[in-house]
């Protein structure tokens, strides 16, 4: 791969009695969208803050854009944009005043103001709410405003901590268009998200769990290399069928995805279709599927024993 703009080695961070990061290493190239996924409290935000130099690692070392995260904080911060997980805008300022404020403090040439605003209003659709106080916006609108403020900045690295939480599907799609645009301009985006369909759109993902990196790779590669077989079961009334299957002694996990039941085998063995039909009714149809990231995520975290092995 090309030159790395973020290199972290063996980073450890402890809060009180919790090991937030347990010796993780990442290396991130430029012009890429990097996804941080994992359950709540897995260490994603902490690692982001260490990259941003807002937190100091207890152990390990690293560079961002060639600057040491310990000694060159200011140099790093100058080139990095951030959207925190919690809403961090001025609720007593209007939409426009917030945008203008960030435009000013990011020291963008005045001549670009119009163009920037056009681009951002195009995405956030808040143009009709220019004069509304940020505190009076709906949850998702606030989120989009915060996101717009982060995108205003023109840094080499953009760190976005769960930016699309509470954002509606239409806006999320548009937001991802913008991220891809930034990537094509040579920027690097670090993003954490609870939406696994978004993780699929990343160039590379890190799956965090309990302060460690459980898996990493290209999304497609993670899926194709996953060895456990998955099946999809369709039926008219999935919930009772699923309940029955879960209660059965079959060597598999059953769970709902949309209006279908998914089945993850606990071993590499083929499932017994006949047996399943006997339990859940004859009208069900069963087919083998390629798992989605969500299937894999659930499997990794819910598979009995697996997590403990990792610990």
């Amino acid at each position: 791969m090309s030159e790395k703009i973020i290199q972290l080695k063996n980073i450890a961070k402890r809060y009180d009695n919790i090991m937030a990061l347990d010796h993780v290493s990442v290396s991130i190239p430029h012009s890429a969208i990097i996804g941080f996924i994992g359950p709540d409290g897995a260490g994603k935000s902490t690692l982001m803050k260490i990259i941003l130099t807002l937190e100091t690692a207890d152990e390990g070392e690293g560079t961002v854009l060639g600057n040491s995260i310990e000694t060159k904080k200011r140099a790093i911060r100058r080139h990095i944009g951030y959207m925190p997980e919690i809403f961090s805008l001025y609720t007593d300022l209007s939409v426009e005043e917030n945008l203008k404020f960030f435009f000013q403090i990011y020291k963008i040439p005045k001549s670009q103001y119009k163009e920037k605003m056009e681009m951002l209003y195009g995405f956030n659709r808040l143009e009709n709410f220019k004069t509304t106080l940020a505190g009076h916006l709906s949850g998702g609108m606030k989120q989009k405003l915060a996101l717009s403020c982060a995108l205003m900045h023109d840094p080499k690295i953009l760190v976005l901590d769960e930016p699309t939480t509470g954002v509606d599907p239409v806006s999320r799609a548009e937001f991802w268009k913008m991220l891809n645009q930034l990537k094509s301009e040579g920027k690097t985006v670090l993003i954490s998200t609870p939406y696994l369909d978004e993780a699929m759109q990343c160039d590379y993902i890190y799956l965090f769990h309990q302060g460690k990196i459980l898996k990493q790779g290209l999304p497609d590669q993670i899926i194709s290399e996953y060895e456990i077989p998955f099946y999809q079961i369709e039926t008219r009334d999935p919930i009772p069928a699923m309940k029955k299957l879960q209660r059965s002694q079959l060597h598999a996990r059953f769970y709902l995805i949309g209006d279908t039941i998914h089945c993850a085998m606990l071993t590499k063995a083929e499932p017994s279709v006949l047996e399943m039909k006997k339990i859940a009714g004859n009208e069900i149809t069963i087919k083998k599927i390629t798992p989605t990231l969500e299937d894999i995520f659930l499997d990794l975290l819910e598979r009995p024993g697996e997590i403990n092995d990792v610990k």
Binding site: R77, Y90, L93, F101, Q104, I105, Y106, K110
Partner: protein, 364 residues
């Protein structure tokens, strides 16, 4: 450009937080009305000089009575200019025994001595007057006069002829309220940014720490000066306190004093995590020292030595002397040189230490 951005934003915060704004302007008013009256306090050792033009047994007895009092300390006058002595606060009283004092007494004629009192601190002045009266009674016992002796003290009040207590209170309140308000203003607005998470965005932005500091200080400095002006105006209009000295000089020191408070608030904000903590800390660390150690209510002379030493590092102490000097005595910068240099010195140290601390916080 970026600096202007912060300043503009800060003004939006100020204008939109109407409640706080009202409190900010009403509080000084209420405080002044509350504090404006009735303070009864003890003081010790008032330096006085005595001019004896009579040189009689009676006049020496009277001087002895003053000498014997725990309250007065007679210092030698070395023929210094009385005016200067009062200005320098070297003395706070001056007794003149006129020629013919003994003669008049022997003739049982109405007899007067003149006693001049520094009344810039009106509470003290009232006490000094009362003690002088007591001393006179003691003098009468000393000479063993049982019957009516028409000796009187003719009081002359210097600086504050009408002896209004508010004369003294207004400069004190200015010192107290300004340090309290300024410290609270910056500490609360900065901790609010911390609580809302916006501080992180400022830290991560390309803003220099000095831009954040100046952007925060300028709006609140203007606001504080406005509050200060209101306090002075209320003093002048409601309590008829004069501003005898230079307004420019007054504002120069007010500005310096406000900067001290604002930067101190900044230091607090780098430590406090919530607005409540910041507010409590700001109140405790400004109100108590100012009330107790600045010579505002309790005279410093009556304090234990250790507290007196501590009081030397309290900017309010010097600010109080300066404001009184300017408002009540028409003192000039030269006359106020000592407290001025002290205030400038201590404030500068305060401002530097506080901003350094805050800067470290921003950049850590």
């Amino acid at each position: 450009m970026a600096l202007l951005g912060i300043i503009t934003k800060e003004f939006y915060h100020i204008m939109r937080d109407f409640r706080t704004l009202i409190i900010l302007f009403l509080m000084p008013l209420l405080q002044m009305i509350m504090f404006g009256y009735a303070l009864n306090l003890e003081i010790q050792k008032v330096e006085i000089t005595i001019d004896d033009f009579d040189h009689s047994e009676y006049s020496r007895q009277l001087i002895r009575a003053f000498q014997g009092s725990d309250f007065f300390e007679i210092i030698s006058d070395d023929n210094q200019d009385l005016e200067v002595q009062f200005f320098k606060r070297a003395i706070r009283g001056h007794l003149t025994i006129p020629n013919g004092f003994a003669k008049n007494m022997n003739a049982n004629q109405p007899t007067q001595v003149d006693f001049m009192i520094d009344a810039s601190n009106s509470n003290d002045a009232i006490l000094i007057e009362q003690y002088a009266m007591q001393t006179l009674l003691h003098f009468k016992e000393l000479i063993g006069v049982k019957q009516y002796v028409p000796v009187e003290i003719n009081q002359v009040f210097r600086f504050n002829p009408e002896l209004k207590s508010t004369y003294f209170m207004v400069p004190g309140l200015l010192a107290l309220l300004m340090i309290m308000i300024t410290t609270m203003l910056t500490s609360i607005t900065l901790v609010r940014e911390k609580e809302m998470g916006t501080m992180t965005l400022l830290k991560i932005s390309p803003l220099h720490s000095f831009e954040i500091i100046i952007g925060k200080v300028v709006p609140y400095l203007l606001l504080s000066l406005l509050v200060g002006t209101i306090i002075v105006l209320v003093g002048v209009i409601l309590f008829q306190v004069p501003v005898r000295g230079s307004i420019l000089l007054l504002y120069f020191f007010l500005l310096l004093y406000c900067l001290t408070g604002l930067s101190f608030g900044m230091m607090i904000s780098s430590l406090a995590k919530t607005q409540q903590v910041a507010m409590l800390f700001a109140l405790m660390s400004t109100v108590l020292p100012t009330l107790i150690l600045a010579g505002f209510i309790f005279p410093l002379a009556a304090m234990p030595k250790i507290l007196q030493y501590i009081s030397y590092i309290i900017p309010a102490r010097y600010f109080l002397i300066i404001v009184r000097g300017i408002m009540l005595k028409d003192n000039t910068f030269i006359e106020l040189l000592k407290p001025s240099l002290a205030l400038i010195g201590f404030s500068t140290i305060f401002i530097i230490v506080s901003t350094k601390k805050f800067k470290t916080y921003l950049e850590q």
